[in-house]
């Protein structure tokens, strides 16, 4: 018998984002219905969080979604777009079927993430914020630390982290992700 000492919420589920997605505006409306406020100040404080949630769910925020945010929170679409184009996390175009977060924090830099950025350019023709021509893989070069520095350099493809990545293993990982295989965990375990 397993007793649970848990009387609290279940374990966290990382990143809900999967795959290239069109934005279902009904889902956006449903999300926004949970954003309640008492006054205009509070409504303004919620603009960023609302964008954040849509962006996390769909991988991007469309003009139509921005309009719903603006309407719901009593502001203008222009203002919402000013935010979307300022903060690095937001995308105003859909991502690829797969998404890569390429860590370019300082540990990963020291351990060679530049080479990985270069590999993505040379082999797949994509730089930060871009998506491959076949819509398969989009890349975000992270200007912060993914928090797994002991495995630097690190990339996160969809929900999975990969450590000690080399230019060779990177292309293998990308190709495998595109082919829909997910057997990276073992690959990972062979490293220190």
């Amino acid at each position: 018998m397993v007793q649970s000492n848990h009387t609290h919420a279940p374990r966290p589920v990382p990143s809900p984002y999967t795959g290239r997605q069109d934005i279902d505006l009904d889902v956006v409306r449903e999300m926004l219905s949970h954003f309640t406020y008492n006054d205009h100040e509070e409504a303004q404080e919620l603009i960023l969080s609302a964008c954040q949630e849509i962006n996390e769910h769909f991988g991007w925020v469309s003009p139509e979604a921005a309009e719903i945010v603006a309407e719901h929170l009593g502001t203008t679409t222009t203002r919402v777009f000013a935010i979307l184009t300022f903060y690095a996390d937001f995308r105003t175009e859909p991502r690829g079927h797969h998404h890569m977060l390429l860590c370019h924090g300082m540990s990963c830099y020291v351990m060679g993430s530049n080479k990985l950025v270069q590999t993505m350019k040379d082999t797949y023709g994509v730089a930060d914020g871009e998506t491959t021509a076949d819509d398969q893989m989009s890349v975000q070069v992270a200007n912060f630390c993914l928090g797994v520095c002991d495995r630097s350099p690190v990339v996160k493809i969809d929900d999975e982290y990969h450590g000690h990545v080399t230019p060779e293993s990177l292309t293998e990982l990308v190709n495998r992700a595109i082919e829909g295989k997910h057997s990276m965990q073992e690959n990972e375990a062979t490293h220190g």
Binding site: Q3, N5, Q44, E53, A82, F86, A88, D89, M106
Partner: protein, 580 residues
């Protein structure tokens, strides 16, 4: 809004006595878990261990079952032993095993995998297994802020309260006045952990004295620097400590609302913090008429969107107000006119996390830790090719030699030391000749070094000084908010010069040009980002000038990093030709 539900069994506490009774229950529950007849299995779940499969391990622990209590605790800062599982068998001390895989779980719980044991979480050995505290990674730490890391379930307010959470809050609510609370913080001389080192007590006092109302407290948990992850760690391992710090600040300064602003880079910490707020609200520690005192405190959690500049306090407040996060000129200072033009006291997460202990144990106790001018402990992180990695907590005043070699185990095999970058993208590298200096807020400034937020980046001979300087300058260029000209145009100019050098087309004049341009940016920029953006580059130039010259004069990058290396090594002719 992603809603995190509070634990349903919690009910509202209406008075001082209610809280004391609840605390007593929580302590008893804690004791019964650890002294009961069931085996207690805890899995360290944090963002670093999740990346290595900790959730799968947790799942497996549930699968294996048996007469066990399963707990989801946080990481303990030691990345190198992740994923780990702690097993406490009846009558014995808890033993920690790691790093392990899903396949090891059953054996570990059954007790036949002592080969995987890292240590005992306790003072005495268990058979051949030594206490974890004897491991060099833990031995030299003084874990105050992180004492609950890997021990409590961050999602359990009862665990936190059993281990002392909200005792400081209780004290400011019932036992001491606002002035006395601020007096303790002032006496502790705790200085801002967000990088600047400004004494928190002075800021709080201005906040308390501000007459405009309402007033706000802002906890700066943005942590957008590429070299540090200590605030994320605090949120993941002990969210109630962070929350308590904010609540104490609210009471002490007379603020009716506290904000916690997170950058969005750490979803797990965000979720755990939201859970902490939901539970504290349900218990009545937040809300109207807290514990019958007549005091009202509200907490709001806000997230940013990956813009480093939003760590700057005025930009952060704009970001909360739902516009682009661009700093403004001061005065007025935030304590006069901050969020929504109201008096606002902003502190870093770690600064606030220090406060509960300062209130409970007294400012004088705190001031006895660390050095005279930099009191207390400091969370630190190590990046680059060190043997071990993770978050540690040490007293101020330790040396880099101690941090790198004694705690993190020195350089990894196969790498040769070249330098240690300090202060993220805001300061310069130090070399071995500074390794014996006691480290505090002020000790490295004369050599362009900086304690900053405590993120150290080790780099080896394989890293090119010109390329690394470019990386750091490019970071500031990318993160510039573009509001003012010197920073917006100056940083791209520096990157361009560096690229010239990297491509073998630099001239010696470029070195002077770097210094001149840097001076402009530093002196004329509006905010702290521009004012320090060129500092790493200038410092790299000071320390590794020879290497810059090799690129220019010899057309040679000795590490083979720069594009110049792809060209034939033709020496000085090329450099002069390119400069024409």
């Amino acid at each position: 809004m992603v809603s995190v539900k509070p634990s349903e069994h919690l009910t509202k506490l209406n008075s001082k006595d209610d809280f004391l009774a609840f605390r007593e229950q929580a302590r008893q529950k804690w004791d019964s878990v650890w002294n009961g007849s069931a085996t207690v299995v805890s899995v360290g779940v944090g963002s670093s261990s999740i990346a290595k499969g900790a959730l799968e391990v947790l799942e497996q622990v549930h699968q294996v079952g048996g007469d066990v209590i399963v707990r989801e605790v946080s990481g303990n800062g030691a990345f190198w032993m992740e994923p780990w599982v702690e097993v406490k068998r009846p009558g014995a001390q808890p033993i920690v095993y790691g790093p392990l895989t899903v396949d090891d779980v059953a054996g570990v719980i059954a007790g036949d995998r002592n080969d995987l044991a890292v240590g005992v979480r306790g003072d005495a050995p268990e058979g051949d297994i030594r206490p974890l505290n004897e491991h060099h990674f833990f031995q030299h730490q003084n874990m105050l802020l992180t004492r609950n890391a890997g021990v409590i379930e961050p999602d359990s307010i009862e665990d936190a309260i059993a281990r002392g959470a909200y005792d400081g809050y209780f004290k400011v609510l019932f036992e001491i006045s606002q002035e006395e609370a601020i007096h303790e913080v002032t006496a502790s001389n705790v200085r801002g952990r967000g990088g600047g080192g400004f004494p928190a007590g002075i800021k709080w006092e201005s906040g308390r004295k501000a007459t405009n109302s309402p007033k706000f407290i802002v906890c700066n948990s943005h942590e957008g620097e590429p070299n540090v992850y200590k605030d994320r760690h605090l949120h993941e391992c002990d969210p109630h400590r962070v929350l308590e710090g904010i609540l104490i600040a609210c009471i002490a300064c007379g603020a009716e609302r506290g904000y916690n602003y997170l950058g969005g880079e750490y979803p797990l910490g965000l979720r755990r913090f939201r859970k902490a707020v939901a539970d504290a609200e349900r218990l009545g520690l937040i809300g109207k008429d807290v514990l019958g005192t007549g005091k009202n405190v509200a907490i709001r959690v806000r997230t940013g969107g990956g813009a480093y500049i939003c760590g700057e306090a005025s930009a952060l407040m704009y970001s909360i107000m739902g516009v682009r996060g661009q700093p403004r000129t001061k005065p007025p200072r935030s304590v006069e006119e901050g969020l929504w033009k109201r008096p606002t006291v902003a502190n870093n997460t770690e600064t606030l996390a220090n406060v509960p202990d300062i209130i409970v144990r007294g400012g004088d106790w705190y001031a006895s830790l660390g050095t005279e001018k930099s009191t207390g402990t400091k969370l630190m992180t190590m990046q680059g090719p060190s043997k071990l990695h993770g978050v540690v907590e040490v007293e101020m005043g330790v040396t880099m030699n101690h941090i790198l070699n004694d705690i993190y185990g020195g350089m990894r095999e196969g790498y040769t030391f070249k330098g240690m970058q300090t202060g993220g993208a805001s300061a310069g590298p130090i070399t071995e000749n500074a390794f014996e200096r006691p480290i505090d807020f002020d000790s490295l400034t004369d050599i362009h070094g900086m304690l900053g937020s405590g993120g150290w980046v080790l780099f080896d001979e394989g890293v090119c000084a010109v390329d690394m300087a470019r990386y750091l300058t490019a970071f500031s260029r990318y993160e510039s908010c573009s509001k003012c000209v010197p920073c917006r145009l100056g940083n791209p100019a520096l990157v361009e010069i560096l690229d010239r050098i990297r491509f073998g087309r630099g001239s010696l004049e470029d070195l002077a040009l770097i210094r001149r341009t840097s001076k402009h940016i530093i002196e004329l920029s509006l905010c702290g980002l521009g004012q320090v953006a060129p500092v790493p580059l200038v410092a790299f130039l000071d320390v590794y000038e020879e290497e810059f010259r090799q690129h220019i004069v010899d057309g040679h990058c000795k590490t083979g990093t720069c594009p110049i290396a792809a060209r034939p090594h033709v020496g000085a002719d090329l450099a002069t030709a390119a400069a024409d």
